[in-house]
Structures are given as structure tokens and as C-alpha cells.
């Protein structure tokens, strides 16, 4: 009588036994052809990749960074690392136009924080890392071809026996301070969370999702928790078919995602609001002739604020193709709880409540549902006491899906995790047993589904405003009704020569545009010292945002005809 799997590898072994015909398919760039492997094949490939990683020197309990796009190389190597007890950590490969150096910096910073000795990336990455300033990266970066050509050590795979509480993998996040950290996820948490996902998704359907749904169709990147856990790991542990589209393909051809959802039987898809909004903006019902969207039984929406406007527009547009608005299923979670913390279980589509709102606050908030199994959610005041239903406070959660800490960062771990309770950094309230989010305490921007750390924008601004660190800046996001979250930078300038201000403001926009591929809703220049700071000189971003929205910051004026920001 087989026991329940205790580790991800055991779970994959079980899936390979019970669903030998099930598997994962990955579409090409045009979304026309796909390459599919069955679960038994995936297991075999994983073991082979693990043996090669071991041959390369990847060690047990050591991180292995994977900077690759969606594809079989990434999946093989991720699973291969798990097979030998190394800790895979996915990180985004380079984005599209003009964003080279920011990505290199991010990779190097992360590698140094994690004391990582192996990073698998593209050939181009290795070449680019040969420039001054990127010695660490140059030393540790290898290509997929390098890995494939390594003399394998299969013994490392055979000998490795993970345990329930061992670390399975790491997920990169910015945590509550906006600086990059790696969330440690043990096998126990990964297995618990995928079970919780199976029940959460299935609740409106009256059964476990994997019992009634045939497949999942996901375009989310595998360096994002919703894509990695909600897409890949959920499929590997539960055995339904997974159809993967790369984020690039989705952004270029969003209709491919919808088309596949109407094609392979009862389907589920995890996605941020941004995905639904993209479809509203770019896909007409006509383009989906032949697709039967009534098969799409669970349209999960999470990972960023759910916008009721988007949900309504999406439902109206695709009703013509059979999409049932009741399939929309809001959910909530974060990397620190592996992925999922709460799911809507009513199956009545998106439900909202109206609030009296201050500037920059949403007035219509979405019901995100109930906590997952074995998990408690509490709303707390700044002094730590629990708040009653209906009152807004910080969202805390405790359960078996929680992370065990940030890798190599006990101080940050202690800040976010206390007595098993995770401080999510989000703000919200509970009503009728369901969670609603109203905002975010943590310094994180989520723009079009992508997590962006404020310090990256601030570095760009301060490179322009200079002054040896005496002029500071603060970045945050503001919510607009139709555009979702947008980025704002407020930067101090010393000796503001009115003739220079226009150029300074423009230069900041150009830098942020080039380094991060991010347009800015506003660049506000202020006098030196105008930004609120702690006694140690750290910019208080949340307070800054409040001042900005309340109109209590004074913009320095440019000369006539110029733009001060």
C-alpha cells in the first residue's frame, strides 16, 4: 500500500505511475506547434539533468540559479536540481528592448546574496558578463549546452533521499523592504499548498479540481510563484495535463491562451488581472472562432489587485464564446506561503464591496474568499492586536504552506515570520468569513502583473540627481481607474537651477525606460530634504506616497516652458 508522497520527487514518481499518458506541452513562439512529454518522460529527463548538474558541481542544499525562458531546458534543470537536493531558484532572463544592464546587475546581486556557485543561462549571458563589474557572474554562469555536455553523475540522483521537511526550492521575492530575498520552501509546504490549491479551485465545482478538470493552460513565467507553483508544480503533483505558453508568446499573441482554454476539455487557468485586461484590449470574440470557452471552468485571478472593471469587460466580451462569468475565481497568496492563501469558494464569479475611499485607495474591493485548508488568517493592528471583522489592518497568516525563512537572511526572516505567523505586508479586512485586500504595506510595485522593487527605480533617479547620496528619492505605485498600478518617482534635487529641471526629469525617465523598460506616470522633483525619512536616513516610502496623494509635497518649478516633472 503506497504511502502519500513526502517529497516533490515522490509526488512526480506517483504521477508518472498513475497518469503515464498525462504530461506537459510547451508551445513555440507562434503558438502553433508544441513539444510534449509525458510524466514518465519528464521524470526520466529530470533524473538525467540532475546527474549532469551534479557533474557540474551543483551541491546538495546549495542554490542553483536558472535564468532561462519557459522551455524544456528550464523544467528539466529545475526538476533535476530537486532530484539531487540542490535548490533551484528561477530568475527572469533578459526582457525585450534595451534592458540589458539592469538584468545583469540583478543576476549578480542575487548570486552574491545567495552565495550561488552555479547559474545556468543563455550563451549571450555568458558573453555579456565578460565586461568589467560582473566578475561573479562571469565566474558562475554556464549555458545549457555546458550542462548537457557535462559528464553525468547518476549516483548523485540515486543516492539522494529528501525528507518531508527538507528544503525543496527557493523563490525570489522582494519581501516587505523591497530588497531581493529568496523564500525557502520545504517539500512539506509545496505538497500542502498544491493540495490546498486542488481543494480551493475545486470548491465551487463541488469536488477536487484534479478530479473534474482535464487540464491547465498557463502563460505565466516560471520565475513567478503563480506560474511555478500554480502552473508547473500543481500539474506535476496532481497529474492533469499542462499546456504552457511563454510570456513572450502570450504578450505577442494573447488569443493563443484563450484558444487553448477552449480546446482541451474542462480547463483551469491561473492569471493576474493584467492577463484578462490584455485580452480585453487586444482579442476580439471573432478571433476565437471555434473555441468553446464554456470548457474553461476555473478562471483564477490573483497575483495583483483584481480590478472589477476588467472582470466585467472580460466577461461581456467573451460571453459570445461561451465564457461563463461565474468561472472567474479570485484568489490571494504570495511566495512566502508557497503560493496560495485564499480562494473564492462560492462559484458566483467576482463579488465586490464598496468602501468610502481616501485618495489613491480603491472604492470597490473584491472578495478573495476563505483561507486554504489548515490555515488561519488574522487582521492585525500596528500594535499586534487582532482586529474585528470589517476593520482594516495588516494581513497575517499561519499554516503548513508557510515558508521557513529567507535564505541566508535571519534578520529579514525574523521580521516577516514570528511564531509561525507570516506578515504578508498586505492590508485588508475580513467580512463574512472572506478576505478583502485594500492595499499594501510592503514596498513593492506590481505593474501589469510584474513585481518591481522600488530601489531599482530609485537607483536610476539617484544616478541622475547625484550629489553623493545627499539627495534621495522614493518610488511607489499609484492606482488609476483605467490603467491599474503605475509607477511614480519623487526625487530630491540640490540647487535646483530652473533651467536644469526639465532635463533632469527627462533623464530620469530615459534611464528608467532604458534600464527597466518601465514608463513612469510621474516624476516629481522636490527640494533636498523634502522626503520623509527615518532617523537613520531611510526614505519612508509609504509616508511619501501619502504626502504625494494628499498634495502635501511641493514640486520645484522649472523655468517657463520647461517641465519640472
Amino acid at each position: 500500500m503506497p504511502c502519500a508522497p513526502e517529497t516533490l520527487v515522490e509526488a512526480l514518481e506517483r504521477t508518472a505511475r498513475l497518469r503515464p499518458q498525462g504530461g506537459i506541452a510547451i508551445f513555440d513562439n507562434r503558438g502553433r506547434h508544441y513539444q510534449r512529454h509525458t510524466y514518465p518522460q519528464i521524470l526520466e529527463r529530470a533524473r538525467a539533468a540532475g546527474a549532469q548538474l551534479a557533474g557540474l558541481g551543483a551541491g546538495r542544499t546549495e542554490p542553483v540559479m536558472l535564468s532561462l525562458g519557459t522551455g524544456w531546458d528550464l523544467i528539466d534543470l529545475w526538476l533535476g536540481a530537486v532530484c539531487i537536493g540542490a535548490l533551484p531558484v528561477n530568475i527572469a532572463p533578459a526582457m525585450a528592448m534595451g534592458t540589458g544592464s539592469a538584468q545583469l546587475k540583478r543576476l549578480q546581486d542575487t548570486a552574491e546574496r545567495l552565495a550561488c556557485r552555479v547559474l545556468v543561462g543563455s550563451e549571450a549571458l555568458r558573453k555579456t558578463a565578460a565586461q568589467p563589474g560582473f566578475e561573479t557572474l562571469h565566474r558562475i554562469a554556464v549555458s545549457v549546452a555546458d550542462v548537457r555536455q557535462t559528464v553525468a553523475q547518476p549516483a548523485a540522483v540515486r543516492a539522494h533521499r529528501a525528507r518531508h521537511d527538507d528544503t525543496a526550492f527557493l523563490q525570489l521575492t522582494s519581501g516587505s523592504t523591497g530588497l531581493p530575498k529568496a523564500v525557502v520552501i520545504p517539500h512539506r509546504a509545496a505538497l500542502h499548498n498544491t493540495r490546498a490549491i486542488d481543494r480551493g479551485i475545486g470548491a465551487p465545482l463541488g469536488a477536487l479540481a484534479s478530479e473534474v478538470l482535464a487540464c491547465s493552460v498557463s502563460w505565466l513565467p516560471l520565475n513567478h510563484d503563480m506560474g511555478l507553483v500554480g502552473g508547473l508544480i500543481y500539474a506535476l503533483t496532481h497529474g492533469h495535463d499542462l499546456w504552457l505558453i511563454s510570456p513572450k508568446t502570450f504578450l505577442a499573441r494573447p488569443q493563443v491562451w484563450l484558444r487553448e482554454l477552449g480546446r482541451h476539455g474542462a480547463a483551469l487557468a491561473p492569471a493576474p488581472n493584467f492577463a484578462y485586461q490584455t485580452c480585453v484590449e487586444r482579442v476580439s470574440a471573432d478571433q476565437l472562432e471555434g473555441a468553446n470557452l464554456s470548457l474553461w471552468r476555473s478562471a483564477l485571478v490573483g497575483a495583483e489587485m483584481v480590478q472589477p472593471r476588467t472582470m466585467r469587460a472580460f466577461s461581456e466580451r467573451f460571453a459570445a464564446r461561451g465564457f461563463d462569468a461565474r468561472a472567474l475565481q479570485p484568489c490571494y497568496g504570495l511566495a512566502e506561503s508557497t503560493l496560495a492563501l485564499a480562494f473564492d469558494t462560492r462559484g458566483a464569479g467576482v463579488r465586490t464591496r464598496t468602501l468610502a475611499a481616501g485618495p489613491g485607495e480603491p472604492s470597490e474591493v473584491v472578495a478573495l474568499g476563505e483561507p486554504i485548508i489548515d490555515t488561519r488568517i488574522e487582521i492585525r493592528a500596528p500594535d499586534g492586536r487582532t482586529m474585528p471583522p470589517g476593520e482594516i489592518g495588516r494581513v497575517f497568516a499561519k499554516g503548513p504552506s508557510n515558508f521557513t525563512g529567507y535564505y541566508n537572511d535571519p534578520a529579514a526572516s525574523a521580521e516577516s515570520l514570528c511564531d509561525g505567523w507570516l506578515d504578508t505586508g498586505d492590508l485588508g479586512f475580513v467580512h463574512g468569513g472572506e478576505l478583502y485586500l485594500t492595499g499594501r504595506m510592503k514596498d513593492l510595485l506590481i505593474i501589469r502583473g510584474q513585481n518591481i522593487m522600488p530601489h531599482e527605480l530609485e537607483w536610476c533617479a539617484e544616478a541622475v540627481t547625484g550629489s553623493g547620496g545627499t539627495t534621495r528619492s522614493g518610488a511607489f505605485s499609484v492606482q488609476s481607474a483605467d490603467q491599474g498600478e503605475q509607477a511614480v518617482i519623487v526625487a530630491e534635487v540640490s540647487d535646483p537651477d530652473p533651467a536644469q529641471l526639465g532635463a533632469i526629469s527627462r533623464e530620469i525617465r530615459v534611464r528608467v525606460g532604458r534600464e527597466l523598460g518601465l514608463p513612469l506616470a510621474d516624476v516629481m522633483l522636490v527640494r533636498r530634504g523634502a522626503l520623509p525619512k527615518t532617523t537613520s536616513g531611510k526614505v519612508q516610502r509609504r509616508e511619501l506616497k501619502t504626502l504625494y496623494l494628499d498634495g502635501r509635497l511641493e514640486r520645484v518649478q522649472a523655468a517657463t516652458g520647461g517641465d519640472a516633472g
Binding site: A96, M97, G98, L251, A252, I447, R509, V510, G513, P519
Partner: protein, 75 residues
Amino acid sequence: MDKQQKTLAVIAEISGRAAAEIKPEMELTADLDIDSPKALRLLLQLEDEVGVEISDEQAAAMHTVGDILEHIGER
């Protein structure tokens, strides 16, 4: 339409500006609000409509309208 004009037309469509307003010195992100998702669409449409392929490496070095026009002009 020659390739340069077609290119401007694609950039116009993606950025939501009139083709006549688009100048070579304009920054794709800072001036035309072209973020990463739009940049991907741009690359694909340039491939489909203008018939010019741009590799990831080449794209990483393109910051302005002029950078794109220069690349297109050589093909």
C-alpha cells in the same frame, strides 16, 4: 510604403501616436510609453509586417526610434 514608413506605422500603432509625430530621437519607453509587453509586440509586428527579424541581443541595444530605423535601413 517603404520599410521605414512601415516601421513608423507599426510604432505608431503600438504607441497610440500619429506616425507624423514620431521622431528618431524619441525614447521608446520614456517618450512613447512602450513597456516590455508592448516592446515584444513591436518586435513581432516588425517581423510580420516589415519582414525584418530582430534578435534578443539586437533588441537589447535598441532604445530609440532611430535605433530601430537604423537597423531596418540596413536590411
